[in-house]
């Protein structure tokens, strides 16, 4: 119980920090903290595999990407800068809208969770134990049987991501349309090198 509230506090605080930090790097750090806390929360919910994945994939891979990009865009040491705010009056409405939406959602959902009841005869046990709910084996078995199709689709998604990023990034690459063109480019480059050398 206490653990939950601590985690909740960390989660909320780090989330707020994420969206309020002045510098993007601080946001990443805050997010890292958030993800870590989330991983622990998962453990309290019998999701050991997910806890691990959360750390490895999210914290380890995704957030690193963010850091790289921040570094790339910051052009060395200069911080990411912003221009003039074109929606200066949007803050209050935005917060109001968010609070209202949250209020309604909370009003609806919190009064209703009692409906949810664990299935009878559930195989719940200590987290980390093999064979119980949420264990890696249990998880894997479901993943490769009942949920095989979604899993396969993720392969396609990742493929799209890879190819897409390559295409987006490769925008500036010299393009070689035909063989003749290729030869001409090659010849020009060679001549240029020769000129440089002289």
């Amino acid at each position: 119980m206490t653990l939950f509230w601590v985690l909740a506090a960390i989660l909320i605080a780090s989330a707020i920090w994420t969206i309020t930090a002045n510098k993007a790097v601080y946001s990443v750090v805050a997010l890292l903290l958030n993800f870590a806390a989330l991983a622990v929360t998962y453990l309290t919910l019998s999701a050991e595999f997910m806890a691990v994945i959360q750390i490895i994939v999210y914290s380890g891979a995704i957030l690193m990407l963010f850091v790289f990009v921040i570094a790339l865009l910051s052009s060395g040491v200069a911080p990411l800068s912003v221009g003039p705010n074109r929606l200066p009056k949007a803050v209050a409405p935005a917060i109001f809208i968010v609070l209202v939406a949250f209020g309604f959602l909370a009003y609806a959902v919190l009064g209703a969770t009692a409906v949810v009841a664990p299935a009878a005869g559930a195989n719940l046990g200590t987290v980390g134990t093999a064979g119980v709910f949420g264990s890696v084996a249990d998880f894997g078995k479901a993943l490769f049987t009942v949920h095989l199709l979604p899993f396969e689709i993720t392969a396609l998604i990742l493929m799209v991501a890879v190819i897409g990023v390559v295409l987006l990034a490769g925008d500036q690459a010299p393009y070689v349309a035909t063989r003749r063109h290729a030869e001409r480019v090659e010849r020009e480059m060679r001549e240029a090198i020769l000129r440089e050398g002289r």
Partner: protein, 101 residues
């Protein structure tokens, strides 16, 4: 189990709307992307909490798949951000408004 599922649901709702607020309030596209990650994570928390409640591992698997998607999305998102702001002085979505009515 000591903590009611509703607490987790509430927690995830708070996180979700913090994420929404991030998208609405921040002008840095990277922070916006991070806010979106927050929203996805809150959904993950929801799935895992309900998976625990129902003792149905479909929720966990869903969360797992969401993480994968989030990774792909982050990759593409960052690529687009880089492509967009590579030549810009400011990394600020407010400055990107060639397209308007």
């Amino acid at each position: 189990m000591a903590v009611a599922i509703s607490n987790y649901v509430g927690l995830s709702a708070v996180m979700f709307f913090i994420g929404v607020a991030g998208v609405l309030l921040r002008r840095n596209p990277l922070v916006m992307l991070m806010s979106i990650e927050l929203m996805f994570n809150s959904a993950n928390l929801l799935f895992i909490a309900f998976a625990r409640a129902w003792v149905a591992n479909a929720g966990q698997i869903f969360a797992f798949l969401i993480i994968t998607v989030a990774a792909a999305e982050a990759a593409i998102g960052l690529a687009i951000v880089v492509a967009t702001f590579r030549d810009e002085k400011n990394v600020d979505v407010d400055q990107v408004r060639l397209l308007k009515g």
